[in-house]
């Protein structure tokens, strides 16, 4: 160890602010994807260079966007959710809790950009009808999760009942609605909803002193993802409209100026989208600030600045993903599918493994888990099990496209295993697992990975609506199993690490003094002290 350089390094270290740390975090989570895509495109999968250039620009925006977004989530979204949650518990008014939860769930979901993308890419369901249905679904289930916390019913029973309802509905609903229905569950809980609802749950539980407080901090997202699925499946039974979705026209650029202008053109779209997404949370926060919270000016200013970070971050992120990643995803899927099945599986698994780190909401979940458990449940372990899960989900999705079989063949056994596991795993892991299902399926999945699978489907000549959609559902399902399995393993380790039992506990109840005021007394008293 060289002392001099160490100290210099340390001086640098100190100057590192939270912002650079966040951007570095974003860089580390996006760079593996970039490397994979570059390696594949330079060696085996021929892609046009304009796509790659646009992808690299997109990656830059995504890194910056993720950094700003997670900083904003930390200084603004989390405190807002926390404070509102704490306020609700403190108020002890059932009516207030229920009304506010429904309003929050409904408004936040309506504004979720992911849901709007989903609603726009599913032309067989009317845009407004889908939006309102899903919004109401989330609102109702946020109310249900509050009621569950208040009444102390175990999460596993609630999940069991509602997933039973889902699969009964799924048996009767129209085939074209299946994929979209399950996808909407994962998609609605996107980058805006997740940090907010997660924080709300933690806020509700933070002032509790009962033993279930920690596990009740999570599980809100889990129930909120059920709402949209039920809503869309119900819609599928009553709403008949037979149009079939086709793939979007592929983007290609003739020269660099074209790439630049398509980015610049995209930015206003996402500014509008993000403002819409943020507005309900901002309005609610201002209302709470005026009537209930009354934070000091400085704290209010700080949160306001945080909201601004979130806004800029999300605009950059969405622009990067939609312009740079989405178009590449489809072409990549198509050409790799033509290149051979082994290659296709390898790429799908690799992308799945690394893409989850680039979901902004995953970072927020990790942090919340570490904070609530004071590090006892390491965020890294959760991330690892998510990587395993998403890699598996991608592999299964590709398999499903190639075989062309119904998504229920995967979802029914998957959810059955997950629900059985819920009875063997500590509650807090069940709650985190079902939360991370919704968290893992964010904008990266909904655009890049979904497009990748659509590309594969086109190359394999499948039905996009039935084969490609449902991929998000798969991403939302596999973490339920892997995170709970992690919980099972951690539970085992914890039991093993217990302090050895004392053979005769009654003999070990002496209080041993380590020092006394007057040292000269020691010799005289030592015999008595020892006996006592």
């Amino acid at each position: 160890m060289n002392g001099g350089t160490q100290i210099k390094k340390d001086a640098l270290y100190k100057n590192r602010t939270a912002l650079t740390a966040k951007i570095k975090e974003g860089f580390l989570s996006v760079i593996p994807i970039v490397i994979i895509v570059m390696v594949f495109s330079l060696t085996v999968v021929p892609l046009s260079s304009d796509l790659i250039l646009s992808f690299l620009i997109g990656a830059g925006l995504v890194i910056l966007g993720m950094g700003l977004f997670s900083l904003g989530a930390e200084v603004a979204m989390t405190p807002i959710g926390n404070r509102i949650g704490t306020f609700l518990t403190k108020s002890k008014s059932i009516i207030l809790i229920l009304v506010v939860s429904f309003g929050l769930g409904f408004a936040v979901t309506l504004a979720e950009p992911d849901l709007q993308v989903l609603a726009a890419t599913t032309p067989h369901i009317d845009f407004t009808v889908l939006l309102l249905t899903v919004g109401a679904g989330v609102g109702i289930f946020l109310v249900i999760s509050m009621l569950r916390i208040i009444t102390g019913i175990r999460l596993r029973w609630v999940l069991l009942v509602f997933y039973a309802v889902i699969f009964i509905l799924a048996a009767f609903t129209e085939k074209n609605f299946l994929g979209v229905g399950f996808d909407s569950g994962g998609v609605t809980t996107g980058p805006m909803t997740v940090p907010f609802i997660l924080a709300l749950g933690v806020g509700v539980s933070t002032i509790r002193s009962d033993s279930r407080a920690e596990s009740d901090s999570f599980g809100l997202i889990a129930l909120c993802s059920i709402g949209p699925i039920i809503a869309v499946l119900l819609l599928g039974m009553f709403y008949k409209n037979g149009a079939v979705a086709g793939g979007d026209a592929l983007k290609s650029w003739e020269h660099t100026v074209a790439i630049g202008s398509s980015y610049i053109k995209a930015i206003p779209t996402y500014i509008a989208e993000t403002s819409l997404a943020l507005s309900p949370i901002a309005v609610i926060f201002v209302l709470f600030q005026l009537f209930a919270l009354k934070l000091p000016k400085r704290s209010f200013l700080k949160i306001t600045l945080g909201v601004l970070y979130t806004f800029v971050g999300l605009v950059l992120f969405l622009t990067g993903v939609h312009v740079g990643f989405a178009s590449l995803g489809e072409v990549l899927g198509k050409s790799v599918a033509e290149g051979g099945k082994v290659l296709l599986f390898i790429l799908a698994l690799l992308l799945g493994w690394f893409i989850v780190a680039a979901e902004p909401a995953v970072v927020v979940l990790e942090k919340q888990i570490e904070d609530v458990s004071s590090g006892a449940i390491p965020g890294k372990a959760v991330k690892l099990s998510l990587s395993v899960a998403i890699a598996a989900a991608m592999g299964l999705s590709v398999l499903r496209v190639l075989l062309g079989i119904s998504i229920l063949w995967f979802l029914v056994p998957g959810y059955t295993i997950a629900l059985i596991l819920a009875f063997f795993v500590p509650d807090v892991y069940t709650a985190i697992a079902f939360d991370s299902g919704g968290v893992a399926s964010g904008p990266m999945t909904a655009t890049f990975m979904l497009r990748f699978i659509i590309g594969v489907t086109q190359a394999a000549g499948g039905n996009i609506l039935q084969d490609a959609f449902g991929m998000v559902a798969m991403v939302a399902m596999t973490p339920l199993i892997s995170v709970q399995v992690m919980g099972l393993i951690y539970g085992r380790v914890k039991k093993k690490a217990k302090v050895p039992a004392i053979k005769e506990p009654e003999l070990d109840q002496n209080v041993i003094e380590l020092w006394i005021e007057n040292k000269s007394d020691i010799d005289r008293n030592s015999d008595d002290e020892r006996d006592g």
Binding site: K14, A18, T86, K90, I207, G375, D508, N510, I516, K519
Partner: protein, 217 residues
Amino acid sequence: MNYIISITNPNALNRLLGICDELGLSPPVIMYGCGTAAKSVLDLLGIDSKERRVVFTAADDAKTREFLYEQRKRLYLDAPGNGVAMSIPIKSVGGELALSYLGGDGELKGAPELKPGYELILSIINEGHSETVLDAARSAGARGGTILHGRGTGSKSAEKFFKVTIAQEKEVIFIVSKSDQKSAIMSAILKSAGPNTDAGAIVFSLPVNDIAGFGLI
């Protein structure tokens, strides 16, 4: 024997735990806290990281010295902003098993030598008032502090709301101070956040028998 409180940055936590491990100290208890930087623009912009980890462990006198020395050397405690570590003498331990778990030998000694010049000020306050306390402390010359969040149980038993038990939120603030500044800091805190105010601060100070860290000197 001493109880050692180390306050460190999250990214230095593993190094700190590594030192505990090497010295064979009793498994530490780790808590999540946040530091309070000065009221800077960086803080307002939210880009000044304030997360801290507070690590509690026990050790005998020789190991305490070693532990603080290693922290100083490897965590660069002498540079500002890298944390602080202090040890507080333990008076007695309940049970032989606990004693050996904590790594003590149980030999009865004379009163430990305290490090003259430093004390640890603890303030227990109602949630949301840490800024008031720290502003007061700073005005009396404190360099900063570390906040831990906790729940309190008041004199009346905890409130029930259906199946949910609601506790009061509390904050515990650690401020290391020079002995000659201690009284000024404590009375400043009492003045603006004392028991009669919303903050309801209860303030007391603990003796310290060894200390390492720049931020306080």
